[in-house]
Symmetry: C3
Subunit: 465 residues, 3 copies
């Protein structure tokens, strides 16, 4: 099960240690505590009349921890559904997230966090780094089971960098709003990953087909991931919105969107699945699409009513995507999307971008009051309602830019990852932990002795274990 090509004794240590050393050097050179984490600066603020409560830590740390759980438990366990890929799902998720959040701090700081030549860090940069990491993990979902950890680290280096570029263009240059990242996180991560998967197309992947499915308990582990993502999505979408009503409203809109999405998912799953039964794949994924789809408009005055409609639509298109679109993607477009990220992050992300553009275009001073300037402050200094339509256009352009950078970036990254130097698994042993992990022979479920019986009469087995 191991050969020299996939042996990582040199490749993985080199990748990990070189990357970490580079990061540490850059942190030593460029990164500083911000005003709220630096002892001297914060105590100056205190001397100037601030209270410790004004420290952003107390506004955002609980949300940060919820986001952190989504990144490490949510994404990690969501991908454990494969029968023999649990170590890699949780373990590579852990590795690339731990790397990506450091690299993201540098890239995001470089593009839009420099203060006097230094990157200032605090709770908000931690949340943003986790967000960027989320985008990488979405792409990971598309290539799950078919890539080595070295490939994943290389992908992370490039994707984080392009994420920061795109985020800078969308939020700073274009002045779009995207607090929960329908565009910058979900659309970007999904289409980047799908393009990578397209370039890495494996025509003989069906040789590993028997491992590309779940077992009973692996589906239960995956539900841990699903439920955590579902519960904490309100924190995700609201984590970096403005203090006060914005954070409060965003969390609530997301909560309602997800609830409606879940009902749609169960209803649609029973319609399309075999024999009127529910399909775990739908429940594990489509029920989350409601969180993705209010990632842009959630902080606006979308209303619970609007949020529920968006969530309901998102769940519907997501289930239909799994049933009808995924097979087409694989057969016609040669995109082998292991986790179906197109259905969970791709289409719902685009839906979220459109909903965001429309909601922004409809914003009025009458509905938002003084909150209008606060919410759209980057662009609406004049505060006129006429600005709303411009904001809608800004949002729409941002979607186009995001798609463009994601697809182009994924294309280039795919070709880089295709180089035969990263220890990628052969087609015959994809979706298999044993290739990169020490797995005790005596104890792995797949070594449980399988007594067939699928072939009928000959079902007598003598088994030594």
């Amino acid at each position: 099960m191991t050969n020299s090509a996939t042996n990582l004794r040199l490749k993985l240590p080199m990748a990990c240690i070189i990357l970490e050393v580079i990061i540490i050097i850059l942190f030593g050179t460029l990164v500083q505590y911000d005003d709220e984490t630096d002892a001297k600066l914060w105590h100056k603020e205190i001397a100037n009349g601030s209270s410790n409560y004004d420290n952003d830590f107390y506004y955002r740390y609980p949300s940060f921890q919820d986001v952190h759980v989504m990144i490490f438990i949510g994404f990690g366990f969501l991908m454990t559904f494969l029968q023999r890929y649990g170590f890699s799902s949780v373990g590579f998720n852990f590795l690339i997230a731990a790397f990506a959040l450091q690299w993201a701090t540098l890239m995001q700081g470089f593009f839009h966090g420099m203060h006097g030549g230094k990157i200032h860090v605090g709770i908000e940069s931690m949340i943003n780094a986790d967000f960027c990491t989320g985008s990488v993990l979405i792409s990971f979902g598309a290539v799950l089971g078919k890539t080595s950890p070295v490939q994943l680290l290389v992908m992370s280096v490039i994707e984080v960098t392009l994420f920061a570029v795109n985020e800078f263009i969308v939020l700073t240059v274009l002045g779009a709003k995207d607090a929960g990242g329908s565009m910058t996180i979900h659309t970007f991560g999904a289409y980047f990953g799908l393009m990578v998967a397209r370039v890495l197309y494996r025509p003989n992947l069906d040789k590993s087909k028997h491992k590309n499915c779940s077992v009973y308990h692996s589906d239960l582990f995956a539900m841990i991931g699903t439920i955590y993502l579902w519960m904490f999505w309100p924190s995700f979408n609201s984590a970096v919105t403005a203090h006060g009503d914005d954070q409060h409203r965003t969390a609530m809109n997301t909560y309602y969107s997800l609830a409606a999405c879940t009902l749609a998912t169960y209803g649609l799953s029973a319609v399309v699945a075999h024999d009127g039964k529910l399909d775990m794949v739908h429940i594990q994924n489509a029920a989350l699409a409601g969180g993705v789809a209010v990632g842009t408009a959630g902080e606006m005055m979308l209303t619970p009513f609007g949020s529920m409609i968006v969530g309901f639509l998102a769940g519907t298109i997501s289930v239909l995507g799994f049933k009808f679109l995924s097979p087409i993607l694989e057969q016609k477009l040669k995109i082998q999307d292991t986790c179906g990220v197109h259905n969970l992050h791709g289409m719902p992300g685009v839906l979220g971008a459109i909903v965001g553009a429309v909601t922004a275009a409809l914003a009025t001073k009458e509905v938002y009051g003084d909150g209008l300037v606060c919410l759209f402050f980057t662009s609406w200094e004049s505060s006129g309602d006429v600005e709303a339509s411009f904001q809608g256009i800004r949002q729409a352009i941002s979607l186009a830019v995001t798609l463009g950078i994601a697809l182009l970036g994924g294309l280039i990254t795919g070709f880089i990852l295709k180089l035969p130097i990263y220890g990628a698994p052969p087609d015959t042993i994809c979706f298999e932990d044993g290739i990169y992990w020490e797995v005790s022979l005596a104890t792995t479920p797949s070594h449980f002795v399988w007594m067939n019986g699928h072939t009928g009469l000959t079902d007598l087995y003598i088994v030594f274990v």
Copy 2:
């Protein structure tokens, strides 16, 4: 394993989609952002001198997320102990919770949240909706494994409505205190569910008996649920108490009650279980009874000492209930209580109601100071100590009302659910995911068979399956 009667291809989609459409229409008609989630209204408050910190979001959102985890992970995984019912336990819990929290927002808003003809929503309505959902999930525990998801949705519609009626009578009309819901949530949910289980009595359930038990890893999954419920119960009981000392004290009382309850549970389990060994059923359930039993008095000046005594008692009666009362309930009263909710929520809920009545009756201005009015504000405008005994009586009446509505409501609901139109499973295939879920034949653990083999070569087994 499937027949037309249990095929849900039409029934479940119809139930989900019709219910969701009704909810969306009602939300569109009736629901509005409250002062703290509406951009215009909150910015008016800011203009009037409020700070963003005054937004209730910052007081309650961390507690809300803990409650949310209890509802979706806690209840969901607690019920995965059954060997072949993990998908349904987590999955139906997910479905009915996502439905119930929306319906509860409407029902609770209708009965005690109307402002000028509109239901105002914010963080507190989200917590209350989750609380109401908890009550439905307790009832779900009583009928676990024997009901179709359509039945569960119908049950939720009725139970949420009656929950809101009972809550209105207890808290608003009678002026009782019940922050953690010993009465409104636990007693109500348990006796409602037990009555439903009574009406749905299945004389031939022993045909599914071999599936009504746990396997090794299903018990570990269940412990995830138990531990999350245990850890976050302090947040549950304190989530809607008054700001300041009340929230702080309630969380702490609950923490001590649970700790004492856990010691009692382990001690009693070893006494009553076979051979001096511990029984997972007790640990998974009885250790939580301490949280239930301080659901009413936890916000009062119960003291850590008092909390521990209550917790110790709760753990004791809960273990004894599992050992001695549950078999009687099943054989004499024909109540097949799958999860033993009578032991975890029923008796400890009643205990909590009594403790609450006594603690309220003993309240004095000397002990509570100015906090007396704050805590019992709905009824004690005159603030006299003489009011305490009246409060005690109010609490006791509330328990009686709750029991009455729960039992009557459960009775009626049971008969409605007995109609043969919901795709309920036959007696022979209860406690079985395969009836409602696509489960890969090749991968289900219940077909694993135990092989001894501790001593080596002689361990030869011939197995017929």
Copy 3:
């Protein structure tokens, strides 16, 4: 599998109930609400101009809950890696944590929380009690699988008491800083536990060797523990630091240390493990060493750069410890350290103490500003930079004291636990749930063998296991 010696029908109930009754009596005699949990006292503060926001609950409760999750889910599930010891890992962790947090409240209150003859309790005493509990659970890791729950309770009684003594000497007498407990929690717990394990050395433990390893799904359960510990460690280290920049900075330093540690762990694991593959033991444990190692210096101006270097070093020594030191400890020093706590808590704890001493010694008014007094207030009343070197020395002495008390305490405790009265398991059935738990014979996964048998009699299998 059971005999009278290990039958706990009397021993465990007696231990649980006697201990709980003692605790309840002591709580009734000694424990009072503090100013922020007492209704009367807090309302006096309100009357004197305090706001509810000033209640420490809002500064610390989210961190407390994160710590709580680490104690009950983190430690509990981390230890489920053993194939047949999941019930005990989670269940005994639950029991001794529930006991230890109560006992710790009394012991810590007695040594440094008395106010007018009473122990005052509130959110900070809850966090400190959980911290002390963490130390006991670290020791539990060293003796995992080889001890009865009665032994563990007795160990907890002694260890909690000595923890409080050591904490009093280190923090109060010596005036050292140790917010995240590199010394007081990790070093203390590890060396105490290792000494206990040394005294309880079992020369014939290899008779249970085949059970002292993981199975596929048990490693996934363990990853739940690992990831939760990893995610919430920033909350752990910052939970009792000063409000404002201190809490904020500590959380952030820990976050960066852990991220760098994770990269080092993956890199080193692939270097030292067999065949260039990753070893789950390293990932589950060494990746956490970065949190341990900034437990002292994390609240100081360590900088993200410094935190990363410390984390990187901690991950490195931890992996190397698992590979090269653990076998030596077992063979030469006769310390059978089941979970390798020496590698996760012992060495990284000592590293953290040294880093803390050096960082304190380098502190200057120029870097810390007014924060200098705030951070080192217990000892630096004069605020001079010259004090820094004294603080460094205080830190170093504290490490020595901690090691001394831990080793001596562990030695004595070991001999007490060696008495043949606690129902300890024999050498032949260590690492086995069945000795203390009711485990259905039909359901244990490691011996599962798949039997088809869907079609009945023809499915005859002969299986040697």
